[in-house]
Symmetry: C2
Subunit: 290 residues, 2 copies
């Protein structure tokens, strides 16, 4: 097994994703002006999670609509821009499509940058500060220089190795898909997310195939009564169970701290599998055709 | 391997789910009165999918709010009812909680009944007719009496046996979770759904573990440009790929026809695994505590 505390393990990281992860806080574009309210945000691809997490409505008849064009929209974002521009709302296109007003290049870590821009553009600097504090707090324990005994992301990566992760976050359910995306894109790995009725799924969905298939590793992201119930149900049904506590002054900071922890975990899992955690060349082509 | 064209295979169906499946169309409560508009619907548990599919807003300040109490809400539905009752909207509680105005007992097939009630209560009889027509059309080919060569649900169940299904429906993404729930509850089986950026997930998420784990079977539900792209990407990455065409006069009918086809498929998969497709006793306890 590869050793996350040895330098040669990091040679597969050819694009230097570790540096981007370490220096993430404070990166990304800042608004150059004040945008009239009320604000709305509609997100696609890499911008979708930030739009949901911002809590802004996804459409507005007036004020400013932030259109987060993070790819994979098959022309829908452009259509929505046209539609919005016929109304009284100002449309601010953010992302990596041609002609955007605010540019955010493709990256598995772009969700942080979309969220940061949205918080600044809507005058929520306080909330951004709490997010950044939570991420900086996490960062101290998660980097390559912190040995596995003191590094929860390294530790979790070892737990997930050779297992099929199952993510559950009653705190903010869309986090599950965001983490599934991180694991696909960074660790090149398959993972599972439950349907809306998650507890029912845990209770009855693991019978027929469980014994023959991949060993499952449940990852409970954040607190909640549902997480406690899920733990009770899953303990006897999965091969391993990990609870990831949420740190942060508010829900938004907690969710982003969990997301950041899982980004590091996906990074370490890539190293353990011996695959480059950086972006796959195929993704560029997919972004072009969609 | 068990044979779906032999009677003894059906002995594990102790609760007679085949009859409930066959006779589903036209079952469930009908509204006893006219409900003032505008209408809104907020759904939990078994009612969640119908609320989304109805296209109704999930909250309204006036008119009628249909609160679909299909379980697993941990008191949230009751809280929402109290909140709504302080406003000008009338609240109609539907489901299986104590004191509901319209009763729909727990069943894996309840989503149809919640949807049917909503369509009738909001004056959309025409749409319901198109849904029912699509389901009746499906039913002719899906029952136990139709042999496997002419029965697409039986055929698909054989394809999914001993594989890990991966559901994708660009037509209506919440269908994926609804089908994942059917497979858990009826077939007692694990299945996968992709995150919002599904094509990216298909392209890069199947590398690290794919060769060692369960063989994957992708199931593309319904039409669309994304479904065609997904097929192209997945063909070389999964063990089996099935395309399920959508029949029906409109999107709602198409989605429900796909859901019904997958309910039959989950039923047959349970029989192939030799498990009772009926409800697990544990679920009743879970509904009580949540």
């Amino acid at each position: 097994m590869r050793d996350l505390d040895r330098e040669e393990t990091y040679l597969v990281d050819r694009t230097g994703l570790a540096l981007e992860l370490r220096d993430l806080v404070g990166t990304g574009p800042v608004p150059g002006e004040a945008y009239p309210g009320p604000h709305a945000a509609l997100g696609y691809g890499e911008g979708q999670f930030a739009a949901l997490l911002s809590g802004l409505p996804d459409w507005g008849e007036e004020g400013t609509l932030f259109l987060l064009e993070g790819g994979y929209d098959l022309g829908e974002a452009a259509g929505m821009a046209l539609l919005a521009e016929t109304g009284r709302a100002r449309v601010v296109r953010v992302g990596f499509r041609p002609g955007v007003e605010v540019h955010i290049p493709p990256s598995p870590l772009a969700p942080y940058r979309y969220l940061r821009f949205l918080l600044l553009a809507t005058g929520r600097e306080e909330v951004l500060r709490s997010v950044d504090e939570a991420l900086l707090e996490e960062r101290r324990r998660l980097g390559p220089e912190v040995p596995v005994e003191e590094n929860p992301a390294k530790f979790l990566a070892y737990t997930l190795l050779e297992r099929l992760p199952l993510f559950y976050s009653p705190l903010f359910r869309p986090l599950e898909g965001a983490v599934q995306t991180l694991f696909a894109r960074v660790a090149k790995s398959l993972s599972l997310t439950p349907p809306p009725s998650a507890l029912e799924f845990f209770l009855v969905g693991l019978e027929a195939r469980h014994e023959q298939g991949d060993p499952l590793a449940a990852v409970l992201l954040g607190p909640g009564e549902e997480a406690a119930l899920a733990k009770e149900i899953l303990e006897s049904r999965v091969d391993a169970l990990a609870e990831v506590p949420a740190t942060g002054a508010n829900r938004l900071a907690q969710v982003m701290a969990l997301w950041y922890r899982m980004a590091w975990t996906a990074y370490y899992l890539a190293l353990l599998y011996g695959v480059d955690p950086g972006d796959h060349g195929l993704l560029e082509r997919l972004r072009e055709v969609t």
